[in-house]
């Protein structure tokens, strides 16, 4: 029944359509709980459901696809939302730039996955008012959900266990209302070689998980309010080799009382380019942020290594608190920080001071006494107090653009043709993480070929 209600919510089915959904939905509901990776792999050998050759709409394709199956979407503009509630399904566009799911500035979602093991590949999603691509373990009869800046109904993670196994590969999400690509209450996933621009909240978002086992790599975020945002996603989140350049804010690691699993902690942010985050061709950041490379708000014990953090007009890194949650024990090592208004600033509230944050290779700080405090923390296992604070002054934030009016991106590279044998395998239960020790500080032109506007 849940499946049926979700489909009704997201697709706005006609009565005839609903009949089909009820028939299919009831059957697959029971199957989902019992379907393991092996069963899915067997089903995945079936021929793909082709749009528009086999069915004319994405909704019909979602109804028809079996566990482990593939929906192959031809070139065209699809004024639909695609909800995947069948496990181990692959959604793939025939041409990344010409297969476009368009929210039309009215539909909240482009592609939503609420089942385990879903891949979304080689497709463009634009014009959604909320999420371009959403993976979420939170959903009920009202549809999929995730918190938003303007309100949040608390969800019980016990009642809604995290979605398992997901992959976003070669997806373009541009000019979506709040978020481009968003994984919430989800574990064991990869977001790779994708692109997000024109988001009024963030281009990429990973939120609310512990032992997340999520890899974010090889992506480009530009002309967003925030390039990459993490709220309460902790432990094994690896953000490596991405280009977060030309947003209002490059990357944030946040503790948020709007989500479960406080505080945010223990991400690895390695080998990224985080530069020039003072782009006016972007929607406003909700708090007026502009010119910041990395913002840590109540984030703790994160490792930030071998990134190039440069040309940020307010600050390379800003440490601050989230209400009563301090920024503590974050470690910044071997980054290249240059041409920032100031490399690091501590803006924590007096009642919630930062402690134990270590940084090497930092040339300028606000206040200047922070420099010695950051260095001292590297030599001590204790939570070295870092009580001195000062506000980083940047340029005035220019007026925010409508997300619909941010300049669209250039065409993006297509995913190589899928190896049928590999594509029919279910996603692994544990993400194969890269060897981070091999990553060096990226060049200033990392992924530049994928950057730019039409």
């Amino acid at each position: 029944m849940l499946t049926t209600m979700l489909r009704r919510w997201i697709a706005g089915c006609t009565a005839a359509c609903m009949t089909a959904v009820v028939l299919i939905g009831c059957g697959s509901d029971g199957d989902q709980a019992e379907t393991g990776p092996e069963a899915s792999a067997a089903a995945g050998t079936a021929a793909p459901v082709r749009v528009p050759e086999d069915v004319t709409t994405l909704g019909e394709a979602a109804d028809r696809v079996a566990p482990g199956g593939t929906i192959l979407i031809g070139a065209g503009h699809y004024a639909e939302q695609l909800l995947i509630d069948t496990p181990d399904v692959t959604v793939r566009g025939v041409d990344r730039n010409d297969t476009v799911i368009d929210g039309g500035g009215i539909r909240p979602y482009g592609v939503v996955a609420v089942a385990d093991g879903v891949r979304v590949e080689n497709i463009t999603v634009t014009g959604a008012t909320f999420y371009g691509v959403l993976f979420t373990g939170l959903h009920d009869e009202n549809g999929p959900s995730a918190p938003t800046a303007d309100g949040y109904q608390r969800w019980d993670p016990q009642q809604f266990p995290p979605l398992q196994r997901f992959r976003v590969d070669h997806v373009t999400a541009f000019n979506n209302g709040l978020y481009g690509i968003y994984a919430f209450n989800s574990q064991h996933g990869v977001i790779t070689d994708s692109y997000a621009s024109g988001s009024a909240d963030s281009g990429f978002y990973v939120g609310q998980c512990r032992d997340c086992d999520v890899l974010v790599t090889g992506n480009v975020a530009e002309r967003n309010a925030v390039g990459f945002e993490n709220a309460n996603a902790s432990d094994s989140v690896v953000v490596a080799g991405n280009r977060f350049a030309g947003n209002r804010v490059g990357l944030t690691l946040l503790s948020s009382y709007q989500e479960a699993f406080l505080p945010q902690h223990a991400n690895q942010v390695v080998g990224n380019l985080i530069s020039g985050n003072d782009e006016a061709d972007s929607p406003a950041q909700a708090d007026g942020g502009f010119g910041t490379g990395i913002g840590i708000g109540g984030g703790q014990s994160n490792t930030v290594e071998r990134n190039r953090i440069s040309g940020n007009a307010r600050a390379g890194v800003i440490l601050t608190n989230t209400e009563d949650i301090p920024a503590t024990d974050n470690r910044f090592r071997d980054n290249v920080l240059d041409d920032n208004a100031v490399d690091m600033a501590n803006q924590s509230a007096e009642r919630t001071p930062a402690t134990g944050n270590c940084a090497t290779g930092v040339a300028t700080t606000l206040p200047t006494t922070l420099l010695a405090e950051l260095s001292a923390a590297c030599d001590s296992a204790d939570g070295q107090p870092q009580a001195s604070t000062a506000a980083a002054e940047g340029p005035d934030a220019p007026p925010g653009k409508s997300f619909k009016q941010v300049t669209p991106p250039i065409d993006q590279p297509n995913l190589a043709a899928a190896d049928p044998a590999a594509a029919s395998q279910p996603l692994p239960g544990i993400v194969a993480m890269p060897d981070l020790t091999t990553l060096t500080v990226p060049a200033a032109d990392l992924l530049q070929a994928n950057s730019g506007t039409r």
Binding site: T148, L178, G288, P399
Partner: protein
Amino acid sequence: MTRRRRTARFARLLGIVAALVLLLAGCSAGSAAPEPMAPPARPVTTEEAQLLAVVRFNNFDTGTRPFSTSITEKGTELELQGWIDYAGHLGYAEVTGSFTPQALLWNGATVGVHDSAPDAHGNPALPIKDASSTDWVSHPLDGSTSRLDSLLIVLGGLGSDRPENPLLLQQAGALWLRADTVDGVPVTVFASPPSDNPPGAGDPAITADTSPLRLWVDAAGLLRRAEIRLGAQWQTVDFTDTPGPSLSVAGGGG
């Protein structure tokens, strides 16, 4: 947020606006007799909530919306015609009645007027007079003492730089009131949620008359008309879908 920033913006939270108008309404909020055979108000569907969720964003996205209305302020009939620039956070209107015509300019904090004849279309003269001009007579917007100020505050709050959450609109009590037309264009008439938050367990049921704000919305999510309850009276404000000028004021930010 600094005071300077605050004064540069329209009041943006609908809840604040709604509370303000409810305050004015006191206990005398009149409920007009329902039209015979009118279908009853009901909670919005998912699709209707999605439409309502983009109305304020579409005003921002459009930039400037031409509008007209009439209002009685302290016994004087006023006719207003002009524009609201939701991206620029400025409103500018010609005010006419049994007095010398005036140009009226407002933002989220301040309203000012000066004597000025309308242009050939009934709109206020452009460019807007420099803010430093001594011709302006201005005062802080105060919705508790002025019906006109209340109306201007509510109108300014009808823009937002991002879409709203359709689920929250449903939970907070947005209602479908009826189908209608404005200038021949089919529209849906909604009652905006009376507050930003869902009603609590002990709160009275939300009816068609609970909210002080009704919105006439076309199929593209464009606002065509608003009704705003001030005291016991509903004020009608009409919007057209014709382009309007970007508004700016030199010499002090309006």
